[in-house]
């Protein structure tokens, strides 16, 4: 089954003309037709468009034009927050109406140039606000391992589509864990690159100082391949950083002897599920047996990360989402004057979580509260970042659970926003500090069988070492080879 292959396997077969891009794409379309009724990873997909792209790739293969195309004929799903020219763009929200992107995001241009088939719009929490993909205006996405459970969020569709073998890989975005948390809960590999590693041009902004685009894949090598393609400075995004892009796959040599890994004592908290803790403890032992040294470290401001995040992210969101006012785009609701038009359009178009965060963000930025909340949070953010930079003087990477528990039940936390926010407790510091992080499978709970994620955090622009460790661990365990049985 071609849809079950990795990027490395599929591109090798296409380059050797053993299979065509069309056959690979058709295999994914068939899989989507078969299982997506149960999973609902996709908001929409255009089969004819995907096949036309595949035919164009097959023509390149025929002409021998395959050099520098590391994603030759690989169907890749896209989170509904990234602009793909002539494809719909809704951000999981009603407010955008029938919006169609007039241009490609930089990461999409790069995927296309690398030979990828850009396929479908993947479901997400509205405007990437949420941890369960229950906040989408287009319905919930279900976890392929247990369809009564959430896939995580906000990139729940991106994680579920990979876990269900509906596409070979996907892109998502991560503002406080929105790639790593769903990757952990669906049992795939998901990475948030260092802030500035990947261009945000064509990404609809949620919290501009925290957002990064990143890949979901079936193994670490595929993740490195995708990072190679999407990374790099972009003059259209002044926050992208002008640093050379190494070949990340070259770091994957399995040799982690002598690397130092830190285990933060603050992450072994009360709410940590015993099975998750046991899996992470076993992963630590495994890394030691591969020659790494593991030592306890301290990140003393960890407890303040969630509060800091839930000031900074809503504040930035309230400013970013001001553009959805019904003038240049959006499903407009008319009013007697512009203010009434804005208010009605936004009141009708945004869902409850987005409204909650806009109100919270507007409040913490409003006159009289700015210093007490927003400015103070930005200062605590500095302390959190310094904790990491200090730790990285002693260690090459940090290891933690990705989430405190495996996937929870649909509806379990949807009435309690604060409880939902605390499910991100291990992932948000990484965004606040601007460092890189990856989640990969490290075991399963017993009953029901649900994936458990291991998180590795790396230095700013330290993706090579982080992926090297992730790859060595993965290859020595094989958890990533387990597949979900859908509808069992």
């Amino acid at each position: 089954m071609l849809n079950q292959l990795t990027i490395s396997e599929l591109t090798a077969k296409i380059a050797k003309r053993e299979v065509s891009a069309r056959e690979a794409t058709q295999a994914c379309l068939d899989r989507v037709a078969k299982v997506d009724g149960q999973i609902h990873a996709f908001i929409s997909h255009n089969d004819a468009d995907a096949l036309a792209q595949a035919d164009a790739v097959d023509k390149l293969v025929e002409q021998g034009d395959i050099a520098n195309r590391p994603l030759l004929g690989v169907p890749i799903g896209i989170k509904d927050v990234l602009a793909v020219k002539d494809h719909p763009l809704n951000c999981g929200s009603k407010i955008l109406g029938n919006f169609v992107s007039p241009y490609d995001a930089t990461v999409i241009e790069k995927l296309k140039a690398a030979g990828a088939i850009i396929f479908g719009r993947l479901n997400m929490d509205e405007f990437a606000m949420g941890s369960s993909t229950e906040n989408s205006a287009f319905g919930i996405t279900r976890n392929p391992w247990d369809t009564t459970r959430i896939p995580g969020g906000s990139s729940g569709g991106s994680a579920a589509a990979v876990a269900a073998d509906e596409v070979i890989a996907t892109l998502g975005t991560d503002t406080g864990g929105s790639i790593r948390q769903p990757a952990a809960l669906c049992g795939c590999v998901g990475m948030k690159p260092t802030y500035g590693r990947v261009s945000r041009y064509g990404l609809v902004a949620f919290a501009s100082s925290l957002d990064q685009v990143g890949p979901f894949s079936k193994d670490v090598r595929d993740n490195a391949t995708l990072l190679n393609v999407i990374s790099g400075y972009d003059k259209r995004d002044s926050t992208s950083v002008n640093q050379p892009v190494p070949d990340y796959t070259k770091a994957l040599d399995g040799n982690i002897k002598g690397l130092r890994i830190g285990l933060p004592k603050e992450y072994m908290i009360g709410g940590l599920d015993p099975e998750v803790k046991a899996a992470v403890d076993a992963a630590v032992k495994q890394l030691q047996s591969l020659g790494a040294t593991v030592e306890e470290i301290s990140l003393p401001h960890t407890d303040y990360a969630a509060a800091t995040y839930y000031i900074i992210a809503p504040a930035e969101a309230s400013a970013n989402l001001a553009r959805f006012d019904g003038i240049r785009y959006c499903a407009r609701v008319d009013g007697a004057d512009p203010i009434e038009l804005y208010s009605k359009t936004r009141g009708a178009g945004f869902g409850p979580e987005v409204k909650r965060r806009i109100i919270l963000g507007t409040y913490v930025l409003s006159s009289g509260y700015y210093d007490a909340y927003y400015l103070r949070a930005q200062k605590v953010r500095t302390l959190i970042r310094q904790d990491f930079l200090k730790a990285f003087e002693k260690v090459d990477a940090i290891i933690t659970p990705t989430t405190p528990t495996a996937a929870f039940k649909i509806g379990e936390k949807s009435d309690d926003p604060l409880q939902m926010y605390l499910s991100d407790v291990f992932t948000i510091s990484c965004n606040l500090a601007g460092i890189c992080g990856v989640s990969l499978p490290c075991g399963f709970t017993k009953s029901p069988k649900l994936p458990i994620g291991l998180q590795l955090l790396g230095k700013p622009f330290g993706e090579e070492v982080m992926l090297k460790i992730a790859h060595a661990y993965e290859q020595s365990t094989g958890w990533h080879k387990e597949r979900a049985v859908i509808g069992a």
């Binding site: 409040y363 409003s366 103070r376 930005q378 926010y421």
Partner: protein
């Protein structure tokens, strides 16, 4: 501070966001909880700490001031809710 004086109606007006009375009540309760939670930051000593506005310090990022191609007029108008003669149509602003 906070919690007790949190006025949803006023903040919603600042945000140009119309809310139903039910939404106002529910949001008010939830936001009181959330603000109570973030109050813990008041216990952190931040004296002498600089604010972080950007995770990777970058200073005065500029680019050459040159004319480059951009979206065509038609593409830019493509998603307009209401347009006429290549212009966005809005309600009357000035009497």
């Amino acid at each position: 501070m906070a919690g007790t004086d949190f006025n949803v109606k006023y903040v919603a007006h600042l945000a140009r966001l119309s809310l139903s009375p039910d939404e106002e009540q529910k949001l008010g309760e939830q936001l009181n909880n959330i603000i109570g939670f973030v109050e813990q930051l008041k216990s952190v000593d931040v004296s002498g700490v600089e604010a972080t506005a950007h995770a990777v310090p970058t200073v005065n990022v500029t680019r050459a001031d040159e004319v480059l191609p951009s979206l065509s007029h038609d593409e830019a108008m493509r998603n307009a809710p209401k347009q006429s003669n290549g212009l966005f149509i809005v309600p009357k602003i000035v009497e």
